[in-house]
């Protein structure tokens, strides 16, 4: 026990400097605020009517699933010092493809699987277009994915004829709304995907190679890293993950809303990645951090509703939380506080002998 405590004390500096740590603190604080409002907030109950676990924490986990998917994809792209602004639009394309296909089909599980494969395939293809524009053509990631961001929503509108399409398929809806032994499927799936990505990049040299591209793409090439194919892979993966997020988002209500599904979620993804301690300059990434960032955003969204913050004040409330978090994460701001404390201690010492 004391051993653990002393080790934590020794590593305190490192823990405080770890940006994801502040994300965890923020989540805990937000949950604490909710608990103050309602002491039963954290309780997870068993719902007899529906036969699965229910509670605010479960809701947060479910709501975080799409954000986790795009945040992990974004994290990999950012590691190569790129950025993917198109994830929100790829989400809506995947959603539009699934709803449009399912509308014309019977509600069988086979059709759901087929639809899922086609939707994810198209999402991956759109991601690959980003990848080709960036790696082969050599366009700036910001511009190429911005083009895809604008084009994607247009494509979705063409697919659905500009309407919000609704479909019925229980197997497909199960992906987002179902439960396995009381735990939401959508959360299990997203955790499994995150774990898979983590193993792929961190248990092999892949992650290091991505970071090498992000640090110095020429040097990495000289060192034998295949920049082009890796960039292509990373953008395709980001597209695929955005497709999964789009499926999650639309399957939960079985409706695609061409102007709202995934709208501005690329910003949430970037935010999650940054909160998790991944530098937008590239060369360094943390998937665990992105997961914490994603959970924080979901917690924040749910907290706003739980507290009943007036609709007009919601954006300001979120902005304040995020600004405070970023300030806490900033080394310079923390040093400022530390110096002031040190100065005050010093001046007190000087006062004593006098």
């Amino acid at each position: 026990m004391t051993d653990v405590a002393s080790r934590i004390a020794a590593n305190r500096g490192a823990i405080v400097r770890n940006q994801a740590f502040w994300g965890v603190i923020a989540i805990v604080l937000l949950l604490a605020i909710n608990v103050i409002k309602d002491p039963g907030y954290l309780a997870i109950g068993y719902n007899d009517e529906t036969g699965h676990l229910s509670g605010n924490l479960i809701d947060i986990l479910r709501a975080s699933a799409p954000i986790l998917m795009i945040a992990v994809g974004m994290c990999l792209v950012v590691a190569t010092s790129g950025i993917d602004l198109s994830v929100g639009s790829i989400m809506v394309v995947a959603g539009a493809v699934s709803m449009e296909l399912l509308r014309g089909m019977d509600g069988t599980a086979g059709n759901a699987a087929l639809t899922l494969a086609i939707a994810l395939g198209i999402a991956t293809a759109l991601g690959a277009v980003n990848g080709i524009l960036v790696s082969v053509v050599g366009l700036q990631p910001f511009i190429s994915t911005l083009v895809m961001m604008l084009a994607g929503r247009g494509i979705a509108k063409v697919i659905t004829g500009g309407q919000n399409t609704t479909a019925d398929n229980d197997s497909f809806a199960w992906l987002a709304n179902g439960y396995v032994v009381g735990i939401p499927v959508v959360f299990l799936l997203s955790m499994a995907i995150v774990a898979l990505v983590w193993v792929l990049v961190r248990r092999s040299a892949l992650g290091l190679m991505l970071e090498a591209i992000g640090m110095d793409s020429r040097a990495s090439r000289l060192a034998g890293v295949k920049r082009r194919s890796l960039q292509l892979t990373v953008y395709s993966a980001s597209g695929l993950l955005a497709g999964v997020a789009g499926v999650f988002a639309t399957a939960s209500v079985m409706t695609v809303d061409v102007s709202r599904t995934g709208y501005q979620l690329e910003l949430d993804a970037i935010l999650a990645v940054v909160i998790g301690g991944t530098s937008l300059a590239g060369g360094k990434f943390s998937i665990g951090g992105a997961v914490i960032g994603g959970l924080l955003i979901a917690t924040l969204d749910k907290t706003v509703v739980f507290l009943g913050v007036p609709a007009s004040a919601t954006p300001a409330f979120k902005a304040i939380v995020i600004v405070v978090l970023c300030l806490l994460q900033s080394e310079r701001v923390r040093n400022l506080f530390r110096n002031r404390r040190a100065l005050r201690a010093q001046s007190q010492k000087e006062v004593v002998p006098a």
């Binding site: 529906t50 605010n56 809701d59 919000n164 988002a249 209500v253 809303d257 709202r260 919601t314």
Partner: protein, 335 residues
């Protein structure tokens, strides 16, 4: 000598520009002849429609109806300019370019109420009449536009409120799912509801949140609201159909029965909502009639002939308060 190719290149660029301008000029000529025609009465009248674009079933029906009314056979050329992702900036750009083109009349469905003064003044200087379709502007300065044609949001939401009062004589807790904050529709629908329900002390407001007109967000918002209030909510006032359907899903997932434990009232009256009402998942649907292309056409004709029109023309709307009423209306529902 080396400068000569550069000069030649410059000429080439200038030439290309001139061609481009000529092309634009050609376009202008077309509209100009359209202009003359508008006054003559027989030629094609150009109508610029600054529209909202994909937003939901209601908007879809409304804009399709306008597009079907102002056809070439009817003597109109309709220029349809939907907003990009409900962005007001893109609407102002479209509006300005219609003014510069010199269309005969502009139809405007503003995504946001505020911030239209400058654009409307420009249209006024260019002597182009502007007719507001559905959405109003804020502040509501009637000197800036010719007329507004819309179902009355205030009346429609009052009808929902009256239903709530009569359906819950013993009172209950209610929650409001709003559209985006600051939009004039939201303000008007809130006012209509609050003026009636606010006077009834046993109907208690638990809260209000925006779900941005979206099913997905409404589901997520309402599941949390149910938890925050231990499922103790009897009435939901959803300001559009999509949000009402999202709330119904959230109610079902909480293990409650919509229509029994929680009664949901929505505004718009689209087909999916009436189907849900017929199944009993929604409890009340107030129509916000989108099919007023004919009225609009008459008004445009009057305005172009220089006749006076009322500053606000109300389109009549129906309400559906039972599964039977919904089932009866469904077969010939157009949207």
């Amino acid at each position: 000598m080396r400068s000569i190719p550069r000069v030649a290149r410059a000429f080439a660029v200038t030439g290309a520009l001139a061609l481009g301008l000529a092309a634009c000029g050609g376009g202008d000529d077309d509209t100009a002849s359209g202009d003359g025609g508008g006054e003559g009465g027989d030629e094609i009248v150009t109508v610029g429609f600054v529209a909202v674009g994909p937003e939901g079933g209601w908007r879809q029906a409304n804009e399709a109806n306008v597009q079907d009314t102002f056809t070439e056979e009817a003597g109109f050329e309709l220029k349809y300019a939907p907003a990009t992702n409900l962005d007001q900036r893109s609407q102002i750009d479209a509006f300005t370019s219609f003014v510069d083109e010199g269309v005969d009349v502009i139809l405007l469905s503003a995504t946001e109420g505020a911030g239209w003064e400058d654009s409307l003044r420009r249209a006024q200087e260019a002597e182009i009449p502007v007719i507001l379709v559905d959405r109003g502007i804020e502040p509501d300065d009637t000197s800036l536009y010719v007329t507004r044609i819309a179902p009355d949001n205030y009346e429609v939401s009052t009808s929902v409120a009256e239903w709530a009062v009569s359906a819950f004589p013993d009172g209950g807790n209610y929650f409001v799912l709003e559209g985006p904050a600051g939009v004039s529709v939201v303000n008007e629908r809130n006012r209509g509801w609050d003026d009636t329900v606010g006077a009834v002390p046993n109907l208690v407001k638990v809260g209000a949140q925006t779900a941005n007109w979206s099913t997905e967000e409404a589901k997520s918002v309402f599941e949390t609201v149910l938890r925050a209030n231990n499922n103790d909510i009897q009435i939901v006032f959803a300001q559009n159909d999509e949000m009402g359907l999202g709330a119904a899903i959230a109610v079902e997932e909480a293990g409650l029965t919509p229509g029994v434990d929680v009664q949901i009232a929505t505004i718009d009256g689209t087909k999916p909502a009436l189907e849900a009402l017929a199944e009993g998942r929604l409890s009340f649907v107030a129509e916000y009639n989108p099919l007023f292309g004919e009225t609009l056409l008459e008004v445009v004709d009057k305005v172009l002939n220089g006749e006076e029109v009322e500053p606000y023309i109300v389109v009549p709307s129906e309400t559906f308060d039972s599964p039977e009423a919904a089932a009866a209306a469904l077969p010939d529902r157009k949207y």
